[in-house]
Symmetry: C2
Subunit: 142 residues, 2 copies
DNA sequence: TCTATACGGTCTACATAAGAGACCATATCC
DNA sequence: GGATATGGTCTCTTATGTAGACCGTATAGA
């Protein structure tokens, strides 16, 4: 079994890999249980909106214009259920609903920020790699 | 790279939010273009496998037992296209194929590690929040 | 008064994506 | 000869995501 063959200053990621065959099921594997949520396509965008401060439903919808209300509701419910977002209903007439990050949600912003910084700095590389890949696929003249 | 550590003092995340109405489309918004990939359900798991060192197709399949070959192939192709993973075919008799992280892929491991550390440390909170949420939903008698 | 808009959603119908599992060719082992 | 392993592809079915209509209340404007 190949160990980590180089000591290239990586964080010890193997700790996040479930022991083979045992804990890869959701509910026990934090990677799946948490990371899958961030990949919800909308979750990260909404968290980013809320990182600016508490917002209301319609404001979130404006901040992420191409999300449907259904998906916005659904994503917010999941975030609320996971304890990342707090939902407060003000009994005004039309009732207004405020969403804001909880302490847990707020604490996610730091590691998320690191990932976004990576995404921003490497976005050019990734896009270039795609172009290169697609061109060699179309014209494998190498 | 922002190294903000305080919970109430966030890194400037607003920079990752596209100017309203302009750049939320994929291809211009790094958040979508990159983060959506990590949410591919399998991508992170496979990257974690490869963080241990180069692996072959079947080894990856064993490391993530419940992925189908079809999804494994597809995910690896996407990672290769994005320049995060390099695919090398050795012309042995049943040809063997090795996958390994590129420098770009390797560079993702650090911010990803931060996110996984967060996921691990908050997993208990999140699961507890879910239980609490579900119980109040089922029995809203307060 | 009649209509339009905004609030915060829900509901239904449809399109896309994921998943299971058969299948392929080659080669070695028993 | 049959099983197993290599690295996939292909089709079929099911789950998920999306668009958009709809709902009731309330305010503003014509």
């Amino acid at each position: 079994m190949p160990r980590t063959q180089e000591g290239n200053h990586l964080p010890d990621l193997s700790r996040y890999i479930a022991p083979a065959g045992t804990a890869l099921d959701a509910g026990r594997c934090p990677v799946r249980d948490v990371l899958d949520r961030l990949g919800d396509k909308w979750t990260t965008l909404i968290l980013l909106q809320l990182a600016e401060g508490p917002k209301r439903f319609a404001a979130l919808n404006r901040g992420v214009p191409d999300i449907s209300k259904r998906m916005l509701t659904q994503t917010l419910r999941t975030l609320e259920r996971d304890g990342l977002v707090e939902r407060t209903v003000f009994p005004t007439k039309p009732p207004s609903v405020q969403y804001e990050l909880t302490e847990t949600g707020l604490s996610l912003m730091t590691p998320l920020g690191g990932l976004l910084a990576w995404a921003e700095s490497r976005h050019g590389d990734i896009r270039a790699a795609r172009v290169a890949y697609d061109s060699t696929e179309v014209a494998p003249a190498e």
